[in-house]
């Protein structure tokens, strides 16, 4: 297959899921995000959104939209986010004067480390990126960022995924833990 032939693709998009699956993904993701948002609202004060980071939205896609994917499993979800958060903070501190470089290196390094540790979780790339571009509030957290908000939010979302996905006959979660 030559260079340009490769760009045409070789297969077709997988079939659509059932309507029930759509509703379950929708409802599960709502509950997951509501879990984080509500705890944030009750304990952190209404105006501060310190517990909620954007990459949790991406994780909700996997945990509730594709719960059988290896990328959505607890090992990947928890491990990926926490490792990527550490990497993001560390690289942000080293290259504090070159944010464009720090951002690129944080995401790419996070991917490499997740591969090596078999914890690949796509949303965690955003967690690493957020450590660089998340503004002064995130920068002030320093190495606490992997614990709060990342680990705390991750475990809330994981709890909702376990409760919700296993409550239904046609769903189960996880496929594996470690």
């Amino acid at each position: 297959m030559n260079y340009f032939e490769k760009m045409k693709g070789v297969s077709k998009s997988p079939p659509a899921v059932s309507n029930l699956e759509v509703i379950l993904s929708w409802f599960g993701a709502f509950l997951g995000m509501a879990g984080i948002g509500l705890i944030n609202y009750l304990y952190m004060g209404s105006q501060e959104n310190s517990l909620m980071i954007a990459s949790f939205g991406a994780s909700a896609v996997l945990l509730f939209g594709a719960p059988k994917s290896p990328l959505a499993q607890p090992r990947n979800f928890v491990g990926g986010h926490i490792l990527a958060a550490f990497i993001g903070v560390a690289i942000g501190k080293v290259f504090v004067t070159q944010p464009w470089f720090a951002a690129s290196l944080a995401v790419s390094t996070a991917i490499a480390v997740m591969h090596l540790t078999r914890t690949l979780h796509p949303p965690a790339g955003a967690t690493a990126l957020n450590a660089i571009i998340g503004g002064t509030k995130v920068h002030q957290l320093g190495f606490a960022y992997p614990l709060f908000p990342v680990a705390v939010g991750v475990f809330i979302l994981l709890a909702v995924a376990l409760i919700f996905n296993n409550a239904l006959k046609n769903r189960r979660y996880p496929e594996f833990w470690l």
Binding site: K68, S69, P70, L71, H115, L120, E175, F176
Partner: protein, 281 residues
């Protein structure tokens, strides 16, 4: 029709030794539910055989896959989402999949259990797609030994013995199939009751009662044949015919053209032989 043909797997035609081997090891039980055609344990043996044929580099025409249909006509109903029955194409293990995945360099976004389910379902679809396109006339036997309606039973039995077949169709003067006579029909007429076996005849003869060849001597083909005969069209797919055989519990059926004239006969043996020899005589 059903109930008249006890003869196993219709090995009317010389089949390869390996198939005879199956027969020896596990006698066919027609009442078997999961695999109407063959006991489940044979599924694996057949499969291994097929893999061997593939390994040996012989070209294996796609119609030979029909044998898998022989194994499990009810396969799609039997195969539930996560429970795989003994007729699965290969007893593929999670470790097999894990090893295969590690041989592919990129990241695969699928778990081994999902893959296994997909693989088995895709296999089913492939089988049914292939067998829907194979017509019965491609696998049938064209040289058919037939009896006339007024043939004496002595002649019929002679034909069957001479040609080493366990059943033959009875045709009218235009070549239209009217009925089928099998070994089973002979046994029944000799004992005088349905579903008689050879041992029952021996018991009756040793007991000195009702051991009469007389009915066989006086009767002709039309008295003994099972009718109406179940026929299949030459253009019918092997898939459909396999299911018909399984549902009716029959071992062979005359194949007819558009005018109802017999153009051949198809037996389980035909399908089996095509599978084992790779379609090459």
């Amino acid at each position: 029709m059903s109930g008249t043909e006890q003869t196993n797997t219709a090995f009317d035609h010389p089949a390869s030794d390996s198939v005879k081997g199956h027969k020896r090891k596990t006698p066919n039980r027609r009442s078997h539910e999961a695999c109407t055609w063959l006991p489940e344990s044979n599924c694996d043996i057949l499969l291994r055989e097929r893999l061997l044929i593939l390994d040996s580099g012989q070209r294996l025409p796609h119609q030979n896959i029909v044998t898998t249909l022989l194994k499990c006509p009810n396969r799609s109903k039997k195969m539930a989402d996560t429970s795989f029955n003994a007729c699965a194409p290969v007893q593929i293990s999670d470790d097999d999949i894990f090893t295969a995945m590690s041989e592919i360099s990129g990241y695969l976004d699928i778990t081994s259990s999902d893959f296994k389910e997909l693989y088995l379902k895709a296999y089913e679809h492939a089988l049914s797609r292939l067998t829907r396109t194979v017509k019965v006339k491609e696998v049938m036997t064209t040289r058919v030994i037939t009896a006339k309606i007024d043939s004496s039973l002595e002649n019929v039995a002679g034909l069957m013995a001479e040609n080493h077949i366990s059943g033959l169709p009875v045709v009218d003067e235009k070549g239209k199939p009217l009925g089928i006579i099998s070994e089973r029909d002979f046994l029944e007429v000799m004992v005088g009751k349905k579903s008689a076996g050879l041992m029952e005849i021996i018991v009756q003869c040793l007991g000195g009662r009702n051991c009469l060849m007389a009915p066989v001597r006086v009767k002709s083909a039309k008295d003994l044949m099972t009718m109406p005969v179940i026929i299949v069209g030459g253009d019918d797919s092997v898939d459909d015919v396999s299911n018909l055989f399984a549902s009716k519990g029959i071992n062979r059926a005359p194949v007819v053209d558009g005018e109802g004239r017999m153009i051949g006969i198809v037996s389980r043996g035909d399908l089996m032989r095509a599978f084992v020899t790779g379609g090459q005589e």
